[in-house]
Amino acid sequence: MNALLGLLRKEWYHILRDRRTLFVIVFYPIVQVMLFGSSVRTDVRNVRLAIVDPTPDATTLELRNRFSASGVFRIVSVTPTDAPLDHLFQTDTAQVAVAFQPRFGERLSRGEPAQVLVFSDATEPNSGTSRQIYVRSVLQAYQNELGLRAGALQIVPRVRSRFNPTRVSANLFVPGLMAIILTIIAALMTALSLTREKETGTMEVLLVSPLRPWQIIVGKISPYLVIGFLSVLSVYGVARIVFHVPMQGSLALLIAEGMLFILVSLSLGILVSARTSSQRVAMLGAMMATMLPTQMLSGLVFPIESMPRALQWVSLIVPARWFIVIVRGIMLKGVGLSYVWQETMILAAMALVLLVASTQSFKVRLQ
């Protein structure tokens, strides 16, 4: 027991005295959330709209007003022809353009089809599509009103995006970010701190001592569990305070799941460092084994459903994939353990397998 306490104290000294690393550990989560949360946006706001209106009349003016009043669009130009559109799109002055047919209002009042041409800049297909959808919803709403006034029968679809009604992207990214940050702190830091001991030679001394492999591993893991716990809290705090990400579920459950995920990442870090002997290799290994899959295959950036089948299979063994489902479930949907128990069991199984594997690979004597 004495031995373990000594090891823990020593590990804390290492962490607290390495000022630069400590700085990274403390501020990395916060900076990362701020950056991701405010720069990666798929939500539609402040869309620059160009209007082509050859024959302005009451109807087109009404529609133009509705675009401005929607809060989504900002009208940047109104022209009688579509000639300037190319230039507007090229210079990125406009992102969407709405061109009314000549004599738009007149045709409408006569019951003839009145056409509107909607252009959008599709260099980013997803944002392009979202903007189109907003244009159409404004037009649709107006048409529905006209139809009601005329007493025509119609089907009126009303669409609700549940759990993220305003489609705020921070809500989507922040929970996922938690996975990335915890992975980096947990896997990378343990891998580095273990291989550092191998490099300096102190690991040999620990292995020659009566310490058991599990004691060495517990000594390494525990401080980072605490740090991971603080990271969960700080990411959560920034998400709530700065980005107003909703918290529908239980914070205690979120933290518990967070700790489970950290345990998985820590064991991965130990496994990586047990198989490498230099900090540089360990860093690359930890990056390859955790960061890349976490970013690419977890469903954080690219939806898993649209991946090739083979990558979907690979994504099954990426811990972050399951953790992200859990975090989004808890924070956005407010579900309890009974809804995420399968994901939880998968993470727990991963933690168990990895811990056993890392203890085993530790027992194998130094080569």
């Binding site: 000594g6 090891l7 030679g201 020659v208 009566p210 310490l211 004597r365």
Partner: protein, 251 residues
């Protein structure tokens, strides 16, 4: 006290097709200072790693402090101290913190640990810098501290793997005084070195050449048998054929 505390019989370690240690047999008697000499790559470190449980032997038998290296490596660990070729203390901890850490690992009782710590720091003249980081101390001080820490739990046997490499002659002298002190206190010392003058300080030495023991005995006997003036001369006699062979093989 003539019983053997380390006994190796046909101890062998292969790395792939390379035989690092080739069936060596030797004994180290209780309380003696036993020198392990050899050129770089002769297999000294590999032997130490097998005896301390860091490396499994490929073949042969060995026992340390009466415990078998295959079956009782945990028991061995409690009876030995070890100072590795590389620096074995934590640079970012102070001498005091390093001592406390190892005191905890070897489960030394608290008041006893405090007493030993005070004596040690006093003896080494490190009391004044006990709270500075070890990394800021001169190499010689660090090595002496590392040796004392390896002896902290009063092991029956201490393994020192090239403890004096890179240390100035005066510090090396002081270092050997520490080794003698430990030896007088009853600790068996197995030390590897490639400084031939240090071999003269040992009770008995063995000279390893290409994974085998080429000579073993007291420095005086060995010199006499080979008609050599010094251990240095003897070593060159023994090691020359091997290195010539290696060079021929390389050609």
């Amino acid at each position: 006290m003539t019983d053997a505390t380390i006994r190796a019989t046909k101890l062998t370690r292969r790395f792939g097709s390379f035989v690092a240690v080739d069936g060596i047999t030797f004994e180290v008697r209780s309380g003696e200072v036993f020198g392990f000499l050899g050129a770089n790559g002769a297999g000294k470190t590999t032997v130490i790693r097998m005896l301390t449980g860091l490396l499994a032997p490929s073949a042969g038998q060995a026992s340390v402090a009466g415990h078998d290296v295959y079956r009782e490596s945990e028991a061995i660990k409690r009876d030995i101290g070890y100072m590795s070729q590389r620096f074995s203390l934590y640079d970012d901890l102070s001498p005091l913190e390093n001592i406390r850490l190892y005191g905890g690992i070897y489960d030394i009782e608290r008041t006893e640990l405090r007493r030993r710590t005070d004596t040690m720091l006093e003896r080494l003249g490190l009391t004044r810098v006990q709270n500075d980081s070890v990394g800021s101390l001169p190499l010689g001080w660090k090595q002496k501290l590392a040796l004392s820490v390896a002896l902290l739990h009063r092991p029956r046997i201490v393994f020192l793997d090239e403890p004096t490499s890179g240390v100035d002659p005066i510090t090396r002298r002081q270092f050997w005084e520490l080794i003698y002190e430990a030896s007088h206190a009853g600790t068996t010392v197995l030390v590897t070195t490639h400084y031939m003058d240090e071999a003269e300080y040992c009770d008995r030495i063995s000279i390893m050449v290409a994974g085998r023991i080429a000579a073993i005995g007291t420095p005086a006997d060995l010199k006499q048998a080979a008609g050599a003036e010094s251990i240095d001369e003897l070593f060159v006699q023994l090691a020359r054929p091997a290195s010539d062979q290696a060079a021929a093989g390389a050609r």
